[in-house]
C-alpha cells in the first residue's frame, strides 16, 4: 500500500477476480507479489563447514553487501545432507551476534576496568611479553646436563575450533620459540 492506486484497490480486485471472499490474489500487496528469498538476492554463496561439533556439517554462507545474511545447511554435503542442529542453525547469529566483541581491550595490572587499545600496539606488547617470558623461563639443560632448550615462561591453550592451518602455525612458532606447554581442547 505504498502508492495507492484506486484501480488496484483490493475491493475492486475482488470483484474483478471473482475472489469475493478476499482470500487470494485479490488482496496481495505489491511487496508480497515481489517476494523473493534473500538466498537468491545474495551477492554470492560460499561453501563452509559448521564450527560447532566434529560431525563437520556442510554450510552455505550467503553474502550480501559484504555482510553474511544467511547460513544454512548445504544439501550437497554427503555428511549432513543439508541438515544442521540448533547450534549450526544459529551460526549466522554467531557471526552477527549483537554482543560480539570486535575491538581490542586491555586490562592493566590492578585496573578495575577495560581500556581500548589499538590492535597494532596490542600485538607489539604481546610480542614483547612473549620474548620476556621466554627469556625468564628459559632452560638450557636439565640437572644431568641433557639439553632441554626450552622455555617454561609461557603456555597456551587452544580451542578445537581452530583450523588445521592455524594450529600448524601455532605449533610451529611456539615450538621454534622453545615453548612446550601448548595444549588444546582435545585434552579437556
Amino acid at each position: 500500500m505504498s502508492r495507492f492506486s484506486p484501480l488496484e484497490w483490493p475491493v475492486l480486485r475482488q470483484i474483478r477476480s471473482g475472489d469475493l471472499l478476499g482470500r487470494g490474489p485479490a488482496v496481495t500487496s505489491e511487496r508480497t507479489r515481489a517476494t523473493s528469498p534473500r538466498t537468491t538476492t545474495a551477492d554470492r554463496v560460499v561453501q563452509s563447514v559448521c564450527p560447532y561439533c566434529a560431525v563437520g556439517c556442510g554450510q552455505r554462507v550467503y553474502v550480501k553487501d559484504e555482510k553474511v545474511v544467511q547460513i544454512e545447511g548445504d544439501p550437497d554435503s554427503p555428511i549432513s545432507r543439508g541438515r544442521l542442529c540448533p547450534k549450526g542453525a544459529a551460526s549466522e547469529q554467531l557471526v552477527n551476534a549483537p554482543g560480539r566483541q570486535t575491538e581490542v581491550l586491555y586490562r592493566a595490572p590492578r585496573a578495575t576496568e577495560w581500556q581500548r587499545l589499538d590492535l597494532d600496539t596490542a600485538v607489539g606488547m604481546v610480542a614483547d611479553r612473549v620474548l620476556e617470558a621466554r627469556r625468564n623461563g628459559w632452560q638450557d639443560a636439565d640437572e644431568q646436563g641433557r639439553p632441554l632448550r626450552r622455555t617454561m615462561g609461557f603456555a597456551s591453550l587452544g580451542g578445537a575450533t581452530l583450523d588445521n592451518e592455524e594450529n600448524y602455525l601455532i605449533k610451529k612458532l611456539f615450538t621454534a620459540a622453545g615453548a612446550i606447554q601448548i595444549e588444546n581442547q582435545a585434552r579437556i
Partner: protein, 364 residues
C-alpha cells in the same frame, strides 16, 4: 522457606517473572505428574489432559478499549433508532439529543477501536477489502455507512443549534434536504451495528464466545437498547423520553430473557467463565443494575431525577455486560480446560451418535 543455616546470606529470591502463558497448573495428561512433578496442586487435578496447563487457543489481544467499543457501538446504534423515531414523530429534543449521543458514542467507540490496533496508523487498512467472512470487516463497513448517515444528520443538527453559523454556503440547503434520509440511512445500519459485535466475538475459537454464538446477538441488541434508552433518559426531558423509557424496559426484559436462554444453550463448561471471577462479578452486577434501572424506569420514569438515575444504571449495566462478556471470553481462552473439555465432549457425542468420520485424529 528456611532450609539452610546460610539462609541469611542468600540473595533475595527474585520474583519469577509472570508466565507468558498463564497459569502453571499442570494437567493430568502427563499421567498424574508424569512430567516429573511431585508438586501437589492446591485443588484436585482436573479431569483432562493438557500441555502443562498452557492455553490451547490464544486470547484476543483486546483490552478495555474493545469492550468499551462494544458498549459504545451499541449506544450509538440504539440512539440512532431513537433519533429516527424522534425525527419521524416530531420529538425534536429526543431527535437532537439522541443524534448527539449517537455520534459521541460513535466517535469515542471508533477512537477506542483505533487505539486498540497494533498499528493504529494503519486503521484505514480496514477499508482495504470487503470480506464477508470477517465480522470485523463487515463491522467496519457497517460503522462507516452508519457514520456517514449519522454524521450528516448531526452536521445538520449542529448547524441548526448554532443558528446556521456553520460555513456551509450553498451546501446548506443540500444538507437540510439530506438530513432526513441520512437519519433513516443511519437507522438502517443501527441494528447491524449493535448486533454485529456479537458475531465478531462468536466467530472466534474463544470457547465462551463461540459457545454463545446462537444468542449473544440478542443479548447485545437488548443491551444496546437499554443503554441507548438510558442515555436518552439522562439527556432528555421526561416529556420527550417516553419512547426511550419503553425501549429501555424492552431492552431490560430482552436482555434478561436472552441471557438466560443463551446460558442454557451453551456448553456448560464453556459457560462457566460467565459466572466466575471478575467476569462473573461484572455480569452479576450488570443484571442487578439492569433490573434496578428497568424498575426505576417503569416506576419513576416520569420523574426527572429518577429517570436520570435509572438511565445511568442502565448505561452502567450495558457497559458491564460488554466488559463481562469480554473478560469471560478472554479467561476461557487462557484456561485450556474450556477449550479441551467441550471439544472432547462434542467429539464423544458425535461418535456416540455414530458419526466417526469427522475427527481430526485418525489412524489411516
Amino acid at each position: 522457606m528456611s532450609l539452610s543455616e546460610f539462609d541469611s546470606y542468600r540473595p533475595p529470591e527474585p520474583p519469577r517473572r509472570r508466565r507468558r502463558n498463564g497459569p502453571r497448573r499442570r494437567g493430568a495428561g502427563q499421567g498424574g505428574g508424569g512430567d516429573g512433578s511431585r508438586e501437589m496442586p492446591m485443588v484436585p487435578e482436573p479431569e483432562f489432559g493438557s500441555y502443562y496447563g498452557r492455553p490451547v487457543v490464544k486470547p484476543a489481544p483486546w483490552g478495555h478499549e474493545v469492550a468499551a467499543y462494544l458498549f459504545l457501538g451499541g449506544v450509538a446504534g440504539g440512539s440512532a433508532l431513537l433519533a429516527l423515531g424522534g425525527q419521524l414523530t416530531g420529538r425534536g429534543e429526543l431527535r437532537r439529543n439522541a443524534r448527539l449521543g449517537s455520534v459521541t458514542a460513535l466517535g469515542l467507540g471508533g477512537a477506542a477501536l483505533v487505539a486498540d490496533l497494533g498499528r493504529p496508523e494503519r486503521f484505514l487498512h480496514m477499508l482495504r477489502t470487503f470480506k464477508p467472512t470477517s465480522p470485523m470487516s463487515m463491522g467496519t463497513w457497517i460503522l462507516s455507512a452508519f457514520g456517514a448517515g449519522m454524521g450528516t444528520a448531526v452536521a445538520a443538527e449542529v448547524d441548526r443549534m448554532t443558528g446556521s453559523r456553520l460555513p456551509l454556503g450553498p451546501l446548506r440547503p443540500v444538507l437540510r434536504a439530506v438530513e432526513g434520509p441520512a437519519g433513516i440511512e443511519a437507522a438502517v445500519f443501527a441494528g447491524p451495528l449493535a448486533a454485529y459485535t456479537a458475531a465478531l466475538l462468536s466467530d472466534t475459537a474463544t470457547p465462551t464466545w463461540n459457545a454463545a454464538r446462537e444468542d449473544l446477538a440478542f443479548v447485545f441488541v437488548s443491551s444496546a437498547s437499554l443503554a441507548s434508552g438510558g442515555l436518552a433518559m439522562v439527556t432528555t426531558s421526561v416529556g420527550q423520553a417516553g419512547p426511550a423509557r419503553r425501549l429501555a424496559v424492552l431492552g431490560v426484559a430482552g436482555e434478561l430473557v436472552a441471557t438466560k436462554l443463551m446460558e442454557r444453550r451453551m456448553d456448560p463448561v464453556a459457560a462457566e467463565p460467565l459466572h466466575h471471577g471478575q467476569a462473573g462479578t461484572m455480569l452479576a452486577w450488570s443484571e442487578r443494575l439492569a433490573v434496578a434501572g428497568g424498575l426505576g424506569t417503569l416506576l419513576g420514569g416520569r420523574h426527572r431525577g429518577i429517570a436520570a438515575l435509572s438511565g445511568l444504571a442502565l448505561l452502567a449495566s450495558s457497559a458491564l455486560t460488554r466488559f463481562g462478556v469480554m473478560e469471560a471470553g478472554l479467561h476461557s481462552a487462557v484456561d485450556p480446560r474450556y477449550t479441551i473439555e467441550p471439544q472432547k465432549a462434542r467429539l464423544a457425542a458425535r461418535r456416540a451418535a455414530g458419526i466417526t468420520d469427522d475427527s481430526i485424529t485418525t489412524v489411516g
